[in-house]
């Protein structure tokens, strides 16, 4: 009781966000809009990028895989930070929901990392002349896939949720060291992978007609990622809160939430 009284008012929104029930209800309201936004952006970006953007002078049409490869790679890296930050919040505030977000981020991130590697291989064959190389970029990206899979496996390796949460969060935090390595690998070492086309500090080294649909795809994939993360988190909320009254009522078709 004493600890409850110690909470300052400014943290109230944060603790309300930590309530799985509140989050389940709120995310249910966000999902239709987010899904619609993601679908619209992805369809626009795909049709624009694959059908209307000009082809590349050297690569021809095979460059168009960039419209998948770059967005999924962005989200594979950004999603790792989301997973690690969720794990850190779980460790510090013992917030149940935060651990559920962390667990949900692992399969989504693993799928995106796999897609980044797969689309890279498909593009590598016609461009480089090989599906796979062990250069610094590709290898560090493979390590990211193993980190995601390791966190996924660690979650299921413990009988109690609490022990699995802690172990996964610590592994997720340790793995953050890999993200800057992936990002900077093409600058620090000689790699077969080319340096970044889109940079924060300067204009993209890409024609605006090709860049515009790529930007739409990146924003679209951020929305899609949010939708996927929410869906996995909601499933995890129902699984972990299955003994609570509100989930039982929901399952029995009780009052609409």
């Amino acid at each position: 009781m004493n600890r409850l009284l110690n909470w300052s008012p400014s943290w109230q929104w944060f603790h309300r966000l930590g309530s799985p029930r509140w989050f389940y209800q709120a995310s249910g309201r966000w999902l239709p809009w987010l899904s619609l936004l993601a679908l619209t952006l992805l369809l626009t970006g795909l049709v624009w990028g694959l059908g209307f953007a000009p082809q590349d002078a050297k690569q021809g049409n095979s460059f168009r895989i960039i419209y998948l490869h770059v967005p999924v790679s962005f989200l594979a890296l950004a999603g790792y930070y989301i997973m690690a930050i969720a794990g850190a919040i779980g460790l510090i505030w013992k917030m149940k929901l935060s651990y559920m977000v962390m667990k949900a981020a692992a399969p989504v991130g693993a799928a995106l990392t796999f897609l980044a590697l797969f689309t890279g291989a498909v593009w590598g064959k016609p461009t480089w002349g090989t599906y796979w190389v062990w250069d610094a970029r590709v290898t560090s990206m493979l390590i990211l896939l193993f980190l995601y899979l390791g966190i996924l496996a660690l979650q299921y390796a413990f009988h109690s949720n609490e022990a699995g949460n802690k172990a996964s969060a610590i592994l997720a935090l340790v793995g953050t060291a890999n993200i800057p390595i992936i990002y900077k690998s093409v600058d620090w070492w000689y790699t077969l992978h080319q340096p970044a086309t889109i940079k924060l500090t300067s204009a993209p080294s890409m024609h605006p007609d090709m860049f515009a649909p790529l930007l739409v795809m990146i924003v679209g994939f951020y929305c899609f990622y949010t939708v996927a993360l929410l869906l996995f988190t909601r499933a995890e909320i129902l699984r972990r809160e299955r003994k609570s009254v509100w989930v039982r009522e929901l399952a029995l078709g009780g009052p609409a939430l």
Binding site: P54, K58, P126, G175, A177, P195
Partner: protein, 154 residues
């Protein structure tokens, strides 16, 4: 912030910093060993081991690609702007292999400092240009070169 949470926050920061330092040191120690290929300068300076399988890369020098008329044998020169490296290969080159573009070859450097390659890969740069724009840029470049030549002639 609750003192207990503050303590746990410090622990989280410690984990991230410690992991970053360790991984950063490993990456730093890997240094040149994590490079995917040697540059022609490194090979000319004798930094690349002879007789073992290595990779070398650079820009393919314009006009250096010589193909044998009756076989798949091909010879070309790559440069990093400082040194040159002759590469010999027998096989099909990737579609994007071209003069003035970057290429990476895997093989062994012989006593004459010629790389006998078993595999040649094309390295793509980070620039993406539509064909019309590339053509226009090439034409502008050629016009300028012609102007320069005329100026020298006068």
């Amino acid at each position: 912030m609750h003192p207990l949470r503050k303590q746990r926050l410090q622990l989280v920061i410690l984990i991230v910093v410690a992991a970053s330092v360790v991984v950063g040191l490993v990456a730093y120690m890997l240094g040149q060993n994590a490079n995917y290929f040697y540059t022609p300068s490194q090979i000319a300076a004798g930094e690349a081991p002879g007789g073992v399988h290595i990779r070398a890369g650079g820009m393919v020098v314009a006009g250096s690609v010589k193909r044998a008329p009756d076989s798949l044998d091909v010879q070309f020169t790559v440069t990093d702007g400082t040194s040159l490296l002759v590469i010999k290969h027998s096989g099909i080159l990737p579609d994007l292999f071209d003069e003035g573009e970057a290429a990476i070859a895997a093989g062994t450097v012989d006593d004459n400092l010629v790389l006998q390659a078993t595999e040649v890969l094309a390295k793509h740069d980070e620039k993406y240009t539509p064909p019309e724009v590339a053509d226009a840029m090439n034409q502008a470049y050629e016009r300028k070169q012609k102007q320069n030549q005329e100026q020298y002639a006068q």
